[in-house]
Assembly symmetry: D2
Homo-oligomer: 185 residues x 4
């Protein structure tokens, strides 16, 4: 099942810090604020069809299934159509789609169209789901739609695992994505 | 089946003119340009969840099922979150969602948040679907999701009807809507 | 749109008679009893997954959309697993799945596993949908899943057409079928 | 999340033995044969719409997600329409629906319409899903549809738990069921 897990042997990778410019539904958060909790980082763009149809509804279901044990964090990582996906547009989007979990706006540096956190996590498109364990290590990474069972199993195992133990991952099914090297598909 | 049809007896209602500020996927169109064709006018807002999940995909299916016999026209009738749903945002939306049929931006007058064409058609929310016959008369009007069979039956009957004959309507199922008197539901 | 229509030019084909051994939800019916009405003949097998998932629910929706203008008739045409799909099993199936329209059991002759009416209509598998006009002529024929819009458009056109006029058909999308030359797919 | 779990405090309940008359896709199995593995027991009737639409497809997804770590066992517990759901009919059903995991036929005693194992597990209808841990204790019990995330989380936690540790359950959503005191709903 785990296709893109962190290596079980070898050193685990600490989740890079987030560089954000604005938060909705929450005060600004850093990873350190969430230490001790399992985190799902859901990177999306509000005009990415696969994010609207699959990624974000699944993130909502994760909050409903796991409650406070799991921190679900949205990351608005815009790499195209920047003028169309402003924080003003995002705020209306979150209101209309009733997204209630914390959502951060990924930062940009200079003229680079690729947002900072997105690049730092080596993401290639949206939606991207990153699983982070209680110790702040990346334990799974997925571009595109992934089925509910696989995500839930991976999250549950991280929740039950002691610090830095266990092994979790998310199966790949790279459909319904927007990638940085082309259109949404 | 027809719940909101034009009266079969009594005078039929000519479809009011459209007042628009911009067109995508087409040169500007007026109803007179479409005389002789059956028209589906699909009023939507790009951040209305019911429009994205139901109304617009159904409009695409209508173009696929009926081809050139039917003119499907999108009408972007923004009555809320105006700063978030600009023409710039709409253009990116249409690109990402691969909407290829003509889409008009409904005009606003002064400070009135309700767009002009939307008001003239007495619409109450989005998505709203208006059926117009070959002679330019309104033959059906629906707020919210309506099933594919009912819409297709109504369209097919208008396509087969001689001028101003027949009787068509669209069944009501007012779910998944954004209304002018409140939130989206 | 029409892929398997009867030829618009040339002679139309009269629907062959049905040879049945039992009826549920109705007294025995012959095509002549339905003259003047448009008929959808839905051939199915109760253990055919595509019939259960697509064909039969669509037949139910047809009854809901078109009411008494349309006669929807189920035809239980068993060509495999005969011992598993007896009239006794079918009766329970119709009860549990709440199929309320008339359903006939297709007859068998001697040891031939292929049922009589199924063969006479040159069907190749289930579900098969046959469209018959008010005059008793076959106007469309479809093996496998077909989308609601296409079916509804074809039915509506036959309903509106005068006797033997018009042109209707059902688009092909031969998925979710059981065919006589192999397994269900 | 866990609505019908076994009590976390207090003694856990050993899963009762199964009394079966026939097996498909496997030699006969007893719970003892599965000791050390987590077990999902999926009780169904082949003519129960909720079982066909929800319960059995979910059981297949469980086998795909968890592989050999999880033993998924079908239990054909017929409490109505006995003449319609014979082993002969079931065999054809399993073939057509491509159910490949082991399926047992629940036994009947004398004239009692309620099958033996079904009664012993105090089931009230189909589909019913029972979660059994590596030590053979019942850890969750659900009548009707339950979402994939909740089931997967419960299974994953049992898989990760040491013997008799942990705590798992399945949330209730008693829809799409056939119950012993009435029709399917």
């Amino acid at each position: 099942m785990p296709i893109v897990p962190s290596p079980a042997s070898g050193p685990v990778t600490p989740a890079p810090p987030w560089t954000t410019t604005r938060w909705f539904n929450s005060d600004p958060l850093e990873l350190a604020d969430l230490r001790g909790r399992v985190v799902v980082l859901e990177a999306f763009q509000m005009l990415c069809p696969g994010c609207v149809a699959h990624g974000l509804p699944q993130a909502v279901r994760l909050t409903q299934t796991f409650g406070d044990d799991l921190a679900v964090i949205g990351l608005h990582s815009v790499f195209e159509h920047h003028a169309a996906m402003t924080p003003t547009s995002l705020e209306a989007f979150l209101h209309e789609y009733r997204i209630r979990f914390p959502v951060a706006v990924d930062a940009h540096r200079g003229e680079d169209p690729t947002p900072v956190t997105f690049a730092r996590y080596r993401m290639r498109g949206t939606p991207s789901l990153v699983l982070i364990d209680r110790d702040g290590n990346v334990r799974g990474h997925q571009l595109g739609a992934v089925d509910d069972m696989t995500v839930a199993a991976a999250v549950a195992r991280l929740l039950d695992a002691g610090p830095a133990a266990g092994h979790a991952g998310v199966a790949a099914a790279p459909t319904s994505v927007c990638t940085t090297d082309g259109d949404c598909a």
